[in-house]
Symmetry: C2
């Protein structure tokens, strides 16, 4: 993803495209690893030595608010993030620890029932991935 497009995307959501925000979004969009704050920090601190974790927390919170990112609570301890905001499932391999995306048919999703307003759906599966089974 080229920077110019990241910039346009943030601006389309009324987010000022600061250097840090651009870098954080670009990283998130280019990885499939569902990184934590810690991971993002480690990936970027070489390029941005002044970077503080607080900036990452603030930025991700802003992205989630503006629906540029999703917060994933599949891990017990730390928040994970995903730049893909359309509905999809998350598979966590309890052996290698990776979190993988998989498509889900939205029309088949369970529904809490009449009278409930649904704003957000998470579908988490835990088990062993094909690579770890061999």
């Amino acid at each position: 993803m080229i920077m110019k497009n990241v910039k346009l995307l943030l601006e389309s959501k009324n987010i000022r495209p600061s250097f840090q925000r651009l870098k954080i979004y670009k990283l998130l969009a280019e990885t499939k690893e569902h990184p934590s704050v810690e991971t993002i920090y480690n990936e970027l601190k070489e390029e941005i030595p002044s970077l503080s974790k607080m900036t990452i927390y603030n930025t991700l919170e802003l992205f989630v608010e503006k629906k540029l990112a999703r917060l994933i609570t599949i891990e017990e301890n730390e928040a994970r993030f995903d730049a893909i905001t359309t509905i999809h499932g998350h598979f966590k391999c309890t052996k290698c620890g990776r979190i993988l995306d998989f498509p889900i048919d939205e029309s088949l999703l369970p529904n809490p029932g009449n009278g409930f307003t649904v704003n957000d759906v998470d579908f988490f599966v835990r088990g062993i991935c094909p690579g770890c089974r061999n």
Copy 2:
């Protein structure tokens, strides 16, 4: 749920039915609130003044291991627990904060695909509950 049956249940899972474990299981089984460690601690400390949170952490971990309880990660910060271990959905009302159960048709559940071993499924929905909409 009477204590005798709690005792039998724990014993059937090879868990020594200590006083603390019995009380913690009974509380978890009799509430629909999906309590946190903190909540369980506050509920029980009057009856068991010596109780420590560490015991609750240890006990719940043991229960989850032995499939007497489920760990629910719908909250960003704290772990919640549920004595119902069969597959069902969780709805979190972002207004009143309550976490409610709802049934889901297991045969319709999305599947990560061939080659994946599935051990555990979580289905979380966030939104507004009927009570809070009025």
